[in-house]
Amino acid sequence: MNSLVLLILIIAGGALLSYFGHKINKILGNITVFAVALIIPIYWFTQVDFTETVSFTVSGFHMELGYNMYGKLFSMIVMILSPLALIYAIGYMKDQKKLATFYFSFLFSILGMTGILMSRDFVSLFIFWEIMTWSSYLLVIFLGKDVQKTGIKYMVFSAIGAYAMLMAIVIIYKNTGSMMLSDYFGSFAGFTLQTKLLTGILLLLGFAVKSAVMPLHVWAPGAYSNTPMAYTSVFSGALSKMGIYGLGFVVVNLFAQANLEIVGYVLAWMGAITAVLATFSAVFQHDAKKLLAYSSIAQLGYIVTGIGIGTELSIMAGLYLAVLHAAFKGVLFMVVGAVERQAGTTDMNVVSGLARKMPFTFFTALIAIIALAGIPPLGGFVGKWMLYESLINNSNFLMVIMIFLSSTAAFLYCFKFLFGLFLGQQEPEFDHVKEASPVMIIPMLLLSVFLLVTGAYPGIVFKYVAEGMTNLGFHDVNWQMSVLTNAWGDSVNVQHVYLSVVVVFVAFLIFITWRGYKHSTKISTKDISSSGEMIKPEDNMTYAMDFYKPFQRVLQPILKWKINKYYEDFGKGLEALFDFMRRIYTGNGQTYAVYVIIFLAILLIFSKSIFGY
């Protein structure tokens, strides 16, 4: 039995098992989910043989499944993040209803993702893409909160993306006669410019919707924040990477070879604009979920820019950031989920001062935020550095400024996220909050350990990225375990950075705590220097409302026009058109008869032109 088919059967079987497990009773369901969450990665890492392929023909279309290195890189993200998210989900979804459908669609979306990464031809790619879409749709509307708006918006956008891809597939099939990806890549040069652009752009459209590039990102904030947090970490961590996977092989394999770099360049620009605008809107959110949703759109913007540029260093940066983004975004959404479960709400105007009560969650959130912001000791910096170096090396300097503006503004919402949820005043109404259950903490800790390690040894990720890039046409990708080099020969030894930061930190830690720590007394946050005024425990001294008001005043002209406005008007226009169409069917027989007569008359008059005599 071919290992790939077995993998698919395991995941599908796991989904069904956990569905019926949860239908029977909760504990059995949780056990099955836990077992499935362990079996899938173990099987993938040990048994799956990455060279063999399995193929079968269905109604005249030849379908083939098989791993290539590029797919292996992305399925590593899926295989690491989703089991952890599943284990986290056991803790997170403890007292929710309808768990059966939740786990069923969760595992089916994993099936969809692994399928996409394995499929070597367009039909199976499209099939798994659709499975992934509708299973994630079921989860977007799982909590039933304003199903109408976010659910339908998500479905429409993914449908548009999927059907654009289907159109491209059909046209490719007509031109190349076969559905295989390799044939398409091979014969891409032979197409006429018009079909080249048509098929390429349509494929790009399909993938860009999933990776939330600016004009098509409207579904992302709603979808990311309404889904249960356990799934959002996979949703934004792994699912959006499918879009990146697709962008990767389209932009790099096709357009680069067929010297159409202009498409990649435009895509990079769209990525940069996405990064800036998404960061600006992330800064002013007061709900932690929305903030993270916009921030993951911004991070995807970086990755898209990286891939769009197309030089070896920038693609390496893009793919490296993709891996990192999956890790720290996964942790951050798990953190928000833990806070939501323990403190009841994630609205930063309400919650404050959970650091002391949820120390582990705060620690992992801190690590993830440092990685997200790209600050030196941790892995995020490596990705950012490579991105900047690649941009500067082929001197498109305006984009560097855009990316830098968005990453500096990213510090704002990084601080706001940590301060809003964890630091600030310790309010009495949150005294009851306890640390999240260990089932939720362990996945978070594992991922943050991964982030810490990549800080010093980014090589462990570079290995797989380099392998992946061989499929994209970059054969000898030079990377060292912990020294980053750019085209002009400058290099940063990340280990030195790590070493000096740790050494200096420990030195001064000893200096400050020596003899001082014992004397100092622990103070509650109510005993602050408030010019002598007596602060009673119930006085709310938290500062959270309108956190970056001055920045908002500066950005007023930019933030005025909102992209949703255009979509709403477009939607209303469509509604009016549909209403007009419906009026055709007036509902009384006579008009229908008149229609028939008129139609007949028209045909008779124009019979000369229609039938040619």
């Binding site: 269905v58 099939y173 009384n588 229908y592 039938f611």
Partner: protein, 496 residues
Amino acid sequence: MVITDPVYFIALPLLTAFLLPLFGKIYKPLIGIIPGLVFAFLAYISFDLYLNLVPGKPIIIQMAGWAPPWGINLVFSEFSGLIVTLITFLAFLVWVYSYNFKKVGFDNSKKYFTLLMLMVAGSIGVVLTGDIFNMFVFLEITAIYSYGLTAFYKGRDSAEAAFKYLLLGSLSSVFILLAILLLYKQVGTLNMADIAVKAQSIDPKMKSIIAILFFVGLGIEAEMFPMNGWVPDAYSQAPGPVAASFAGMLAKSGIYALIRVFYTVLEVKGVFDLLLIMGLLTIIFAEFSAMRQKHLRRMLAYSSIGQMGLIMVAFSFNTKAGIFAGLFLMFNHAIIKTLLFLSSGFLTYSTKQKKIRDLDGFGKIMPFTSLMFGLGAFAIVGLPPFSGFWGKLNMLVATADSNLYFVIALILLVAVVEIVYYFKVIGRLYFRQQHKDVEVHNPTWNAILAMSILAIVIIGVGIYPDLITDYLTKATNELFDKAGYIHSVLPNLSLN
């Protein structure tokens, strides 16, 4: 053992339809059982005949001994055989579904089953007949009994719907009769094969008039754009199983007639482009107005018109791939639309005004029916693991072959609209709190049986579409070579 003869298809239902009241006198539940037996027998015959059909040699039966050019003959070839098997299979399932149809008292079921049997006989007749006038007669039979079935419930709306259907149906029969008369005057014969041979000799002017008349007449039956006003009312006012049979059989026979006329009988050059334009218009108007529907059944009716439009577009390519895709879509539409109508039958039966808004939270109260409806919706929209996807894929491949890129874009855009309104209903079914006072009518065991058979067929074809693809290719080849048809019907006629 029993000689399998296509004549039974028509004779047996007609005979038993009128004997039903007698059986009813002898033993009351017999009324429910007899139609079942008949349909089962018909289904058995059609399967048996179809399976051991030798390609290239369809079964030709002369009625009452007259040779073809004069007598009426029945043609049971791959193409017509496929449709007949489809119709009998669906008829049997509709019978299983509405076996002890609760709302129908003792006397109604008598009327209901007779009308149903006659309609089935008529639609099989349309498909089998080789004689143009005979086809007109069978069209009339199906039309009349469908008026009866639409007006089955005593309410004001069903009467009005039936009247609308009657009005348009009579218009269509007038046009078809006129076309046949003109044709007879030109060609002198009524046998399709014979007309096909003599068609070239008609002078073009007259030929175009005949084509237009046929186009409009059969267009009404095949729910083409300007003429399908009756469809939403008829489908929504008729009882659940009847609407399903309409979608499954009536529409199929209408399309079959249109194809038979324009593919084999009349060879008219420009008709296919017209068919393409009309098909696209049908899709656009139907799907867009389906978007704004409040009633579940009307929405399904509009969506079924949309599917018919898609089939017309498929056939309008006049290429082998186009026909193959059209047949696949016809098969899909028949199966999935029947499942949707059957499951929506019970859903709307529990709501007061059949509105989509009342369907909130039905996922919990009627789990099986809403699961079936969800499955049907996923299939009709074309999501992968179900048969709808392969149909749509082949359809798109066919359109790409005749490189009509804007048609692909249009079809996919309309598919997005379709996704929106189907998923709105699913969203309501599963992810909303249900309203307070809802009395639940859970489906009876036979309804569950019928629906699950359909579901199994959908999933089966979805996972492994090769089950039916080779039958479809055989039917395509048969339809495509006109000469083969003529030769088999008139073996001794030397092609002059």
